[in-house]
Symmetry: none
Subunit: 230 residues, 2 copies
DNA sequence: CAGTGGTCTAGACCACGCT
DNA sequence: GCGTGGTCTAGACCACTGA
């Protein structure tokens, strides 16, 4: 399949279509490396910038990812878009016109309990960062967030400012992930003493407990979190 | 604010930040037209291609849109998919000031496939209602909802008006449940033909697929649903 | 018509991963 | 060192809009 320069469809869209078809047809499998950009440019008789524009689109749609110095690879699952916006406490509150903020309660590094290690797909002895934050909306405490994040996935995370903005945005920006899959359990339950004190609630009032795992485009679990919301 | 070429942050990201800040600060209001690309390039001392890359990012994030031959305009604040913290489509849309409605595509009674029976905790041969609805926001189709609800939990459900309001509200009211636990999986994927036609989307555009189970206060699964949203 | 964004080129240098 | 993607330039022509 070649690019037809008489076709009014732009070359980068034609190339995108060609590569996408190869992925959907299984001729390119998840994990496969594509030819380097310069070679694609030569093969299809277009400039490298045009190849980049095609690849940008495919990256955007979650079909591929790229690593500087390594190459271009077909992504694991199907497709992704901006999942952050649907899962981020920070953006959620901003969208509602509230002012979100956080206070770091605890940040450390440890070997996680077996059940959490299993959810994260970690081998025995692999460490995680444990990050516990109290969340505010307009300075009212509204939630407690406990996250376990594999150290090998996000090295140096504790050196970041964990009280500013969205943790997911930080992770995606710093480590160049895209979050493509989310699993969430929601449950209402009476509040226990510890959470109740943090959220300034009466003992036994109902809280929303949310447990979740998020996955990046390579199918790796990036975060296991337990959250309690008023 | 200018672009600092000694700053290791790429010029296009610096420009993106500058423009985004102007929008967030209200110096650029929704509907305002930005300077033409060539003028931005001259003002910030970078090439037009670099300006385009910054604008592409902002377009991508929904802050601006562009029209060939007309210019670059600040977008209305984005409506984000915030299904995570809400259970009910109806309530979600009402909260956003949109008018929700539904059209019943399919309503019947059947023995569910084994995997769905398992999710619902049903014994062999126990029937479910299968309810498929197209969802509208202000008469635009925005989602397709497929629900499996155990007949023994909600007897006579098909006799109700399934196009009016929230199915969850109906179920909770008629059968005196409280929904206390929800499990949700979110994933984005390219739209297939059937859903694409219902939602009036181009084949392969990304849709949010949500799969979920809700439980009542007795721990019984009340509903297994598969939904696709624009 | 002039002005705008859309596409595209043929280069360049840099940052990074690997061997 | 070499190959990769990341960024950037200074042009060019086209398609579309609106006066």
């Amino acid at each position: 399949m070649m690019i037809n320069r008489n076709n009014p469809i732009p070359a980068y869209i034609q190339l995108k279509r060609i590569i996408k078809d190869q992925i959907l047809a299984g001729r390119l499998m998840p994990g496969d490396r594509l030819e380097p950009e310069w070679k694609l440019a030569a093969r299809y008789g277009i400039s490298r910038n045009t190849v980049k524009k095609a690849l940008d689109g495919l990256k955007q749609e979650g079909y591929i990812h790229q690593f500087q110095g390594k190459g271009t690879f077909v992504s694991q699952p199907r497709i992704s878009h901006r999942f952050v916006t649907t899962i981020s406490f920070t953006e959620e509150l901003l969208a509602r016109g509230l002012r979100p903020s956080s206070r770091l309660l605890e940040g450390g590094e440890l070997i996680p309990p077996a059940d959490i290690a299993k959810e994260l797909g970690l081998r025995k002895g692999e460490k995680v960062y444990k990050i516990r934050r109290l969340r505010f909306a307009n300075d009212d405490p509204v939630g407690v967030n406990l996250s376990y994040i594999p150290c090998k996935i996000c090295p140096g995370l504790l050196g970041e400012d964990l009280e500013k903005g969205s943790l997911y945005a930080l992770i995606q920006e710093k480590y160049h992930f895209r979050i493509v899959k989310v699993r969430r359990d929601y449950e209402t339950m009476p509040v226990d003493r510890e959470i109740g004190e943090l959220l300034e609630m009466e003992l036994g009032s109902p809280v929303l407990k949310m447990t979740g795992v998020v996955f990046n485009e390579m199918g790796k679990a990036v975060d296991y979190s337990i959250e309690h919301y008023k």
